[in-house]
Structure formats: structure tokens, C-alpha cells
């Protein structure tokens, strides 16, 4: 009986501890990003195009009036695009940029935003201008939802590009499965929290890297 108690306790313990893990993604976004540079060689912002999965697209389109069944014009989607960027502000547009000196680059509110609807999927286009142009030689931009309600994935066809900086090179890096060492660190997080300068969370991010001479 004692064994039984211990056994059931162990099962219960592991099942209840699952509360640590969060829910799985409910929204999938495949994205293209263009890093914008000014003529003077400073980075000025990022232009995103995020395509939602068809289930979430259908959800977002619920109740949006449109003239033709199965078709939505940019005008018909204007109010939804406005709602999207307004909501995203609270989540920092899921876009985090850093210069090579480790300094965070801050984005201003989104501009030039619109939605289009093709092949049963909505695509949100928007531009995030930097609050102050950045002149760093290397810049890293990450796109991810820390709570993984939204799953971000680079599009298959040329997901990243540069605008106005022919001298620079852009590359991208996929999030990877945690290595055994990272996994071990993960299990200790409750006891040994990360300090504020830690970059541990980035292993789960989609990274865009720009290097300039």
C-alpha cells in the first residue's frame, strides 16, 4: 500500500507539474522580412509580411463584410489591419532588435500596414521604423512569441532581404532544438533564474543577421 501511495504520488506529481509548460501554438505565421537601410548606411526599420495559417485566417475574417464570397479587398480588410497592428503593439510586434554592442534597438509604432487575402490565407504587411536610425556594423533581429501562442516560421522562398544597403549581407538562423546542456539549464530555471543580461531565450527565436563592412 505504501508503494502504491508513493507510486500514485509520483504520477500525480509529474502530471501536475506540467502546468509549467504552456499551451501549444494556436496561430502559425510564415513570414518574410526586409531590413531597411537609408542612403547614409544606417538601418531605419524592418518591413514584415506575415502570412497566417488558414484556420486562424478564417477566424480573423469572421464577421468582416465583403462584397464577393471568398474575396476580400484591401479596403474591406483595412479595419482588421488596424486592429492587428494596434493589438501587436502590446507584444512589441514580436520583433526584437539588437546592435552588435548588445544595445537594444527600439521600434516605433507600425506604419504602412495592410492586409491581403490569397489562397485562403491572410497576409499582414507592416513596417516597423526604428525610433533612432542605427549605424552598428552587425545587427540581429529576432522574431518570436515568447509564450509560443503564435508560432513564427521563415517562409520557404527568400524569407529575408535587404533594402538600400548593397554593401551589407543578410542571413538567417532557424531556432534549434535545445542541446543537452541547454536542456539541463532549462530544468534549473525555477531554482536558478536567468539574470537580466542573459540571452538564453534567443535559442527559441528566428534570427535575422545583418553584417556590414
Amino acid at each position: 500500500m505504501i508503494k502504491c501511495t508513493c507510486c500514485s504520488c509520483a504520477i500525480l506529481l509529474s502530471l501536475l507539474s506540467i502546468n509549467h509548460a504552456e499551451a501549444h501554438p494556436h496561430v502559425w505565421v510564415t513570414f518574410h522580412s526586409e531590413v531597411l537601410y537609408a542612403a547614409d548606411g544606417t538601418m531605419t526599420g524592418v518591413r514584415h509580411a506575415w502570412t497566417f495559417d488558414e484556420m486562424f485566417s478564417a477566424y480573423a475574417l469572421q464577421g468582416i463584410s465583403h462584397a464577393k464570397k471568398g474575396q476580400y479587398t484591401r479596403q474591406e480588410l483595412a479595419s482588421l489591419a488596424q486592429t492587428n497592428v494596434d493589438s501587436l503593439k502590446e507584444y512589441d510586434y514580436f520583433t526584437y532588435a539588437r546592435a552588435d554592442d548588445g544595445k537594444k534597438l527600439k521600434f516605433a509604432d507600425a506604419v504602412d500596414y495592410w492586409l491581403d487575402y490569397k489562397k485562403a490565407a491572410l497576409t499582414l504587411h507592416f513596417t516597423l521604423p526604428l525610433k533612432a536610425p542605427a549605424s552598428a556594423k552587425a545587427i540581429k533581429i529576432e522574431v518570436y512569441d515568447p509564450s509560443i501562442f503564435v508560432d513564427f516560421e521563415f517562409a520557404k522562398d527568400g524569407p529575408v532581404s535587404l533594402s538600400g544597403a548593397p554593401q551589407c549581407v543578410v542571413s538567417y538562423d532557424l531556432p534549434h532544438q535545445p542541446t543537452p546542456a541547454e536542456q539541463a539549464r532549462l530544468s534549473q530555471l525555477d531554482a536558478v533564474p536567468l539574470d537580466s543580461s542573459s540571452t538564453y531565450g534567443e535559442i527559441f527565436a528566428n534570427k535575422i543577421l545583418v553584417k556590414c563592412p
Binding site: 505504501i2 501511495t5 509549467h20 501549444h24 469572421q62 486592429t83 538564453y200 527559441f204
Partner: protein
């Protein structure tokens, strides 16, 4: 108490501690800022469940589209919905922690645990269906309005969980204090009586001798509880006192076996599962609206109900384990009336406190991450 018995009780207490550390770690996340790494599954089993449920969820859209072309694909859709429900309930937000804690705190039977799990899952599915039916089908509301509705229902659900937890904590806290007094009375009877001369200690000896009724109503309820838990059952005493604390909210004591079928007990249990079940699952809402967009609303309704059935299976399994653990611990505790009883009361108080903590964390948004309104306000 033998050493092995102590080990068993310690193990059960460990459950509460782990539950609490979960809460503490959720709290330690910086205010507002999500905990990036908490998002990742912490074990390979969890990683597997995590990957499976995401894959099942994504495949739902494919099966709904297939069902549009070919009616028989609907059965595949229902099958996938069931499996998705089973996996999905392992994640947070399906009330398994609250329901399990409630069952442990309230000394419920496993049978009732299973029934309550199924009722809670059914309510969850039905709420999702009602929200979509009224908001989307009848009113043609936008995703923004639906998201807001879901948010409001969710807040109500969490507030009710806190209320139910607080009530349990109050009732169980009294039982715990009495067990404390009794423990000290057993160890040093003269001292305890000197310290609290008005309290009639509910030990077996006192019960046998005592003819007079204790003063406070709730106090009496707690006495019954202690009594029911010890080997020397004085069921008649509890029933005797019954008429004095009949109201659903003041119903202080854990149900006697004969009472379990009573309406009062079910009412209390239902209040708990309604509170938990109110919160609709974001996934179900999205699936329903996707189905609606394909003119397959009723197929979506079927899939949602079957998803709920899968969820219920998992929650009921976890609830059964919780009730079993409590039952075993209680049998161990019976071998040692004083300390054993004290530990059982402590476990109940801990479980009640966990419900309150879960409710507060959910309300504050530290544990829930299904932000349906992330893009749509």
C-alpha cells in the same frame, strides 16, 4: 506512526509543494513580461506531447476541408478531434489542477471525480459552441468581439475559481486549526485545556463522553470532518448535527459515504466544475469558426464535443490518481489518529490554498497563455 507511513504521507505532501513551486515560479516571472523559456517543454515526454498536440491541431483544418469534399472524412475528423482532446488536456487550462485539488481538499470519491471531470469538459465544449453560435452565426460578430467575449467569460471563470477556493480554504482552515488543537491536546492535555478551555476537543474520548453540543456551527462541521477521517467513525454524530449546517456554502464537512449521492454534495461539486468549465478553449473557438467559414458548422460542433470527450478522459484520469493518492494517504493516516489526522487536514488546507493560488495566477494572466485576442484586439 511507522516510518513507511511517514514516507507515504511525506510523498503526498510533496505533491502540494510541487504544485506550489509551479505557482511561485510563475510568479517570479517579471511583471507583464512573459517567461521565454518557461514556454518550452521541460521533459522529453512533455516535448513529445507538445509536438503531438500541435500536429493534431494543425491537421484539424485539413480534415475539415476533406469533410467538405467527402462526408466520410468526417469520421476521421472526429477521431483526430478525440486524440487531440486527450493530448491537449495535459496542457494547462483544462482545469485538471483545480479539479484535482478540489477533489483532494473535499475528500471526494473517484467516481465523483470522473463524473465531475466529464461535466467540466462538456461545459467547456458547450460554452465554446454557444459563444460561436450566438456571436458568429446569429450576430455575425467579428473576431474582435468574440475574443472579448471569451476574455470576459475567462475572467468570470477565474474569479469563481478563487471564490470556491477561498470558501474551501475557510472551511478547511477551521478543520486544520481544530486538528492542531487536538494534536496539542493529545500531547499535553492539561496545557491545551488551559489554553482553550471553551473548545471541546473532538477526540474519540471527548466524543464518547461529551453530551453537550459545541457552540459554533462551522466548528461542529469541522469536528465531523475530523471524526469521519479517523478510524473511530462517529457518523451518527455528524448526521445528528446535520440539520444545523445545511446551506450549500456553509456546508463544512466532507461527505459521508451515505451522503455522496445527496443533492447538496453534487451542488457543491457542480459549482466547482462550472467555474472551471466556463472558460472555453481557444482551439475549439478557432476550429468552430473555421468550420463555419466552410459552411460546416455542425461538423465543427461534432468535432468540438468529441474534443471535449478526449479532454475529459485525460482530466478524469488525473483526477482518479489524485483521489487515489488521497484515499491511500487517508488510510495510512488512520493508523495514527492524532498526527495522521493533522497531516490529512494540512493536505486539505494546502489543496484549498492551491485552488486560490491557481485562480489568482490565472486571473493575473501568469499561467494562461491562450491569448485569442493577440492579433484581433
Amino acid at each position: 506512526m511507522t516510518r513507511s507511513h511517514a514516507v507515504a504521507l511525506t510523498a503526498l505532501a510533496a505533491i502540494l509543494i510541487v504544485g506550489t513551486t509551479g505557482i511561485v515560479s510563475a510568479w517570479s516571472a517579471p511583471f507583464g513580461a512573459p517567461h521565454p523559456v518557461a514556454a518550452m517543454p521541460t521533459s522529453s515526454l512533455m516535448g513529445w506531447i507538445f509536438a503531438e498536440q500541435a500536429a493534431f491541431y494543425r491537421s484539424l483544418s485539413r480534415f475539415i476541408l476533406a469533410a467538405k469534399e467527402d462526408g466520410t472524412a468526417m469520421w476521421e475528423l472526429f477521431g483526430i478531434s478525440f486524440v487531440y482532446g486527450v493530448f491537449h488536456a495535459v496542457g494547462p487550462g483544462h482545469g485538471k489542477a483545480v479539479i484535482s485539488s478540489y477533489l483532494v481538499a473535499n475528500e471526494e470519491t473517484w467516481r465523483r471525480g470522473v463524473v465531475l471531470s466529464f461535466v467540466s469538459a462538456a461545459i467547456q465544449s458547450i460554452v465554446a459552441i454557444i459563444v460561436v453560435a450566438i456571436a458568429a452565426v446569429l450576430l455575425g460578430a467579428t473576431a474582435k468581439a468574440i475574443g472579448l467575449t471569451v476574455h470576459l467569460v475567462e475572467i468570470t471563470s477565474y474569479a469563481l475559481v478563487i471564490l470556491i477556493g477561498l470558501r474551501l480554504l475557510y472551511v478547511k482552515g477551521r478543520g486544520f486549526l481544530i486538528a492542531c488543537r487536538e494534536l496539542s491536546w493529545q500531547q499535553a492535555p492539561d496545557l491545551a485545556f488551559a489554553a482553550a478551555p471553551t473548545v471541546k476537543s473532538p477526540s474519540a474520548a471527548t466524543f464518547r463522553l461529551s453530551e453537550g453540543r459545541p457552540g459554533a456551527m462551522a466548528m461542529r462541521g469541522a469536528q465531523c470532518q475530523i471524526d469521519g477521517c479517523t478510524a473511530h467513525a462517529h457518523g451518527f454524530q455528524c448526521h445528528h448535527d446535520h440539520e444545523h449546517h445545511e446551506s450549500a456554502w456553509g456546508h463544512a464537512h466532507a461527505p459521508e459515504p451515505a451522503m455522496l449521492a445527496g443533492t447538496g454534495g453534487w451542488r457543491r461539486g457542480l459549482a466547482a466544475v462550472v467555474a472551471v468549465g466556463l472558460r472555453p478553449c481557444s482551439g475549439a473557438i478557432i476550429v468552430l469558426i473555421f468550420a463555419l467559414a466552410q459552411d460546416l458548422f455542425w461538423t465543427g460542433v461534432g468535432a468540438t464535443l468529441i474534443m471535449g470527450l478526449g479532454t475529459a478522459v485525460t482530466v478524469a484520469g488525473i483526477a482518479t490518481v489524485a483521489v487515489g493518492a488521497r484515499g491511500l494517504a487517508s488510510r495510512v493516516a488512520q493508523t495514527q489518529a492524532g498526527l495522521g489526522m493533522f497531516v490529512m487536514r494540512a493536505i486539505e488546507v494546502g489543496a484549498a490554498a492551491l485552488i486560490v493560488a491557481f485562480g489568482i495566477l490565472l486571473l493575473a494572466g501568469y499561467m494562461a497563455s491562450e491569448r485569442l485576442w493577440v492579433f484581433t484586439g
